[in-house]
Amino acid sequence: MPVMLSEYSSGFPTDSQASEETGNCGWPQTLDEFELLVDNVLDRLVWYAFHTLGNADDAEDVVQEVLVRVYADRAKRRNVQRVMPYLYRMVANACRERCRRDRNKPTAIELDRLDNISDEKNGLQTQITIIDELQWIEHLLNQLPAKQAEVIRLRVIDDLPLSDIAQILGCLLPTVKSRLCYGLRKLRQIVSAPKEGNR
């Protein structure tokens, strides 16, 4: 059986594609560059914030906050070379701050938050499917050491290249590779073990 390297393409542009589309010009300095960046990254960042916060409204608010800061502080960051990892780190920090601020709000994917998610693009049935799936994925990933789970989350759920994951997590590429390798190995054991709750 041939090995399909592009088997996991999610339909979202990959980081390299996004970079090409934004002209690979670094931090946006003009309104046009910024709009191009928003077009290319909005879905990806909202998705990342969504599976981190478990709530679409909060995810959108966080991403909006971050992207407005991206433009407002553009002069300060004009020398940032790799924009995507930087944006993910900003969103991750903003999500963490929001969780800290709203301690009473759930941070995991919860079905009872569904009433908050009802826009045109994301129909209710789709939401239920997505959240159900994410709950099951989180159930599996929670059985792994947190650092391995985080790498797998970014690689598989967010479809990010390993080099970007290293930048986002602030660690070395070989560390990311070994976390992915060991994480997947454990995940294989968990998935293949006939445990209740693993489908």
Partner: protein, 449 residues
Amino acid sequence: MNCRSFRKRQVELLDACPDPATIADLLEHIAECSKCAQELREAQTVMARITPSQKLRDSSKVKERIMNSITDLNTTQQTDAYRRPGYRKLVHVGIFAAFLLLAIVATGRFTSRNGSISSPVYVTLAQASEFVRGVKTMHISARMRTIPQGHFDCIDLNAPLIPVEMWTQFGDLAMVRIQKQHRKIVADGKSTTMLMQTGGTPLAAKFDGLAEGCFSTLAPLLHPDTLFERESKAAESSDSDVNVATEFGSDGREKTILTISAKAQGDFSESDYLRNKSIIESYNIRIYTFDAQTSRCEGVQVYIRTGHGNVLVFETTKIEYDIPLDPSLFRLNVPKSATWLNESNETEVVRDTSSMQPDEFAQEFFDTLSRSDWQKARQFSESLLDNSDLRKMFGGLKIISIGKPFRSGLYPGWFVPYEIQLKSGQVRKHNLAIRNDNPKRQWIWDGGL
């Protein structure tokens, strides 16, 4: 390639966009080795199983909201710019910046002098801030030129470099532990406890909340986000020179080196007494080393510029992030024998000293000690004179002379030179530190015995 090498590198085939050139040998191997091909397929299968079949798409209104916010932002900025009377000067600044940029490109280095903070500096600080905002715990091992029981802000250029350890756990209630040989400070999120071993009875003090005044020089290191903000402000100030350079570290990785040279703060027109007694009151050079790729701060060194050259007064030997910290670190066991410095309630004013001159108060203070009037002495020194060791040493002293008071550095009070003879016959000559920056304007003794 053998199977072992393949297993080591197979995750490269699981990357989002693997480089065809680097994976050619891996592909070649699995074409020949069915066992490795099977292993890879299993890894891919498990990844496929946890790949969401659908993803959430953004609301169409989100982009509109963002772009509206940006338009508002632009309008505000433009209005502000035109309201500013000197906005035309920006043109000149822009030309200057262009020359500066050329200089950076040409030299690969950047030096900012007297307030012209640059993008590279901001980027370095901003990236480091972004990194530390996500950090949960931190441990710093350092060496500092200070005396083992002294205040953490005080440095002594003649003292050896002694170990200082710092731990912090970030969160709503930040927990901190800082210690050197004879002084420990622990903040458990609700209060701060300090323990000092001064030779005889241990001294302890407790304060509500996080009492950063007990370690104000080191506190920013334990709040790196504040540290970088502070450094960025310092970099903008007219008293600092900023330099950013890149170089390769001993680990072969690229490092960003941020150097800030700051002039001594404080007023030394009357006396140099406090000059070089703390980092902030010295002409100091602070050097931060960041990993260029991860933006982690990997080291801090502080030098003080003296007439005899630069003297290293502080350097980190290890900085660890996100390591598990034992909760017992944030508990401090105070021996039962310790004297608590701030146990008493509001100090009773036995004698109103608000109208006294500093030297008059010094005279009054030593007179009180010479009479061993501890009830009155408590007003001047809160509860420190409850310490039996100090009572024994200073009770019954004789005043030889009181000199002319002076001020120095950033200290909010006064120093009064004195010479006294203790009951033991020993003669002491030093500067009494006194202050009256309290609501009742009462003088209190603050140190220098």
